[in-house]
């Protein structure tokens, strides 16, 4: 019945609105991009004004995994474990050129992009990206969260 769909889309939008403005992120910081993450999180270029300011240092309590910096093959299992420990709904941002595609490190030691290990929602390129780019990426993720179908119905996720 069409009336029922109208209600569920409105409810989806409300749930999306609530989720996008209260992101708890887990900063999986490894390398140089961590400095720009610190800049983006602090007073000059605040990410708290977008609701994403509170850093949760445990994957069980976070819903946004910010992979910041190069992931090496030695660290890859740890990243996979952290991702699997997070609960649904969860999103991943690949922050920096090394997380997006391996960056300038095309050698035996670095994973050529974390999307070879975990699924990624938003890619923020740059080496390191300016804090404004980080905020732009966060806004794009918020747009994505608003528009995706929220899985509040009791159906199994495949």
């Amino acid at each position: 019945m069409s009336g029922f769909d109208f209600l569920t889309t409105r409810f989806d939008m409300a749930v999306g609105w609530a989720r996008k403005f209260s992101l708890f992120h887990y900063p999986f910081i490894t390398a140089c991009c961590g400095m720009e993450y610190m800049s983006a999180a602090c007073a000059h270029f605040d990410i708290d004004r977008f609701g994403a300011g509170l850093t949760r240092f445990s994957p069980r309590q976070a819903d946004l995994l910010l992979v910041v910096g190069t992931v090496s093959h030695k660290l890859a299992p740890a990243l996979r474990t952290v991702y699997e420990q997070m609960m649904e709904p969860k999103w991943v941002i690949a922050f920096g050129a090394c997380a997006v595609s391996g960056g300038i490190y095309q050698n035996y030691a670095a994973v050529q992009g974390i999307d070879k290990i975990i699924p990624v929602d938003v890619y923020i390129p740059g080496c390191p990206p300016r804090p404004e780019m980080v905020l732009d990426g966060l806004l794009k993720l918020q747009e994505k969260i608003q528009n995706q179908g929220q899985d509040w119905r009791w159906k199994k996720k495949t």
Partner: protein, 159 residues
């Protein structure tokens, strides 16, 4: 002691172990034989030479030559404000050399790194295992024979 006298004194003290000395671009270099490394190092560490700090310990892989590996040590004497470079050549088949663990405490990790990257074994090292690569990595990455882009993933990668 003046710089020239210093090298002469060292050569007088260890006539057999030191093969040659040179000065390249202002750096003093001593080439030492593999067997004499430990006595030379412990002699240099104590008075009167007083090289109390091991600045660096590394290795160079000369694939083409007969003595494949060359260990390079940088010592620093704080009282004299003088640096010294010591080189030891090792053949590729039996790349073993004495460990300096009893003399300087940072030799522990530095030698583990050289073992990890080059495969040079150190006699007398208490715990010689990999430090920068993960256990289970095959090969020694900084050898010239290891291909630069050969990845060894630990977990299965997608596409």
């Amino acid at each position: 002691m003046e710089k020239e006298n210093l090298i002469e004194e060292i050569r007088k003290r260890f006539p057999d172990e030191i093969e040659s000395d040179a000065e390249t671009r202002g750096d003093q270099v001593l080439v030492v034989r593999r067997e004499g490394l430990r006595p030379v190092m412990s002699g240099l560490k104590d008075a009167p030479f007083d090289y109390a700090v091991l600045l660096d310990l590394t290795c160079v892989d000369f694939l083409a030559s007969e003595n494949r590996f060359e260990m390079v040590y940088h010592l620093y004497s704080m009282s004299r404000n003088r640096r010294l470079r010591i080189k030891v050549s090792l053949p590729g088949e039996t790349a073993v050399v004495d460990s300096l663990v009893g003399l300087w405490k940072n030799a522990d990790w530095l030698e583990r790194e050289v073992f990890d990257m080059f495969g040079v074994a150190f006699i007398g090292h208490p715990d010689l295992r990999r430090i920068l690569m993960y256990e289970g990595f095959e090969g020694h990455p900084l050898r010239k024979s290891y291909p630069w882009r050969k990845e060894q993933p630990r977990i299965t990668l997608k596409d």
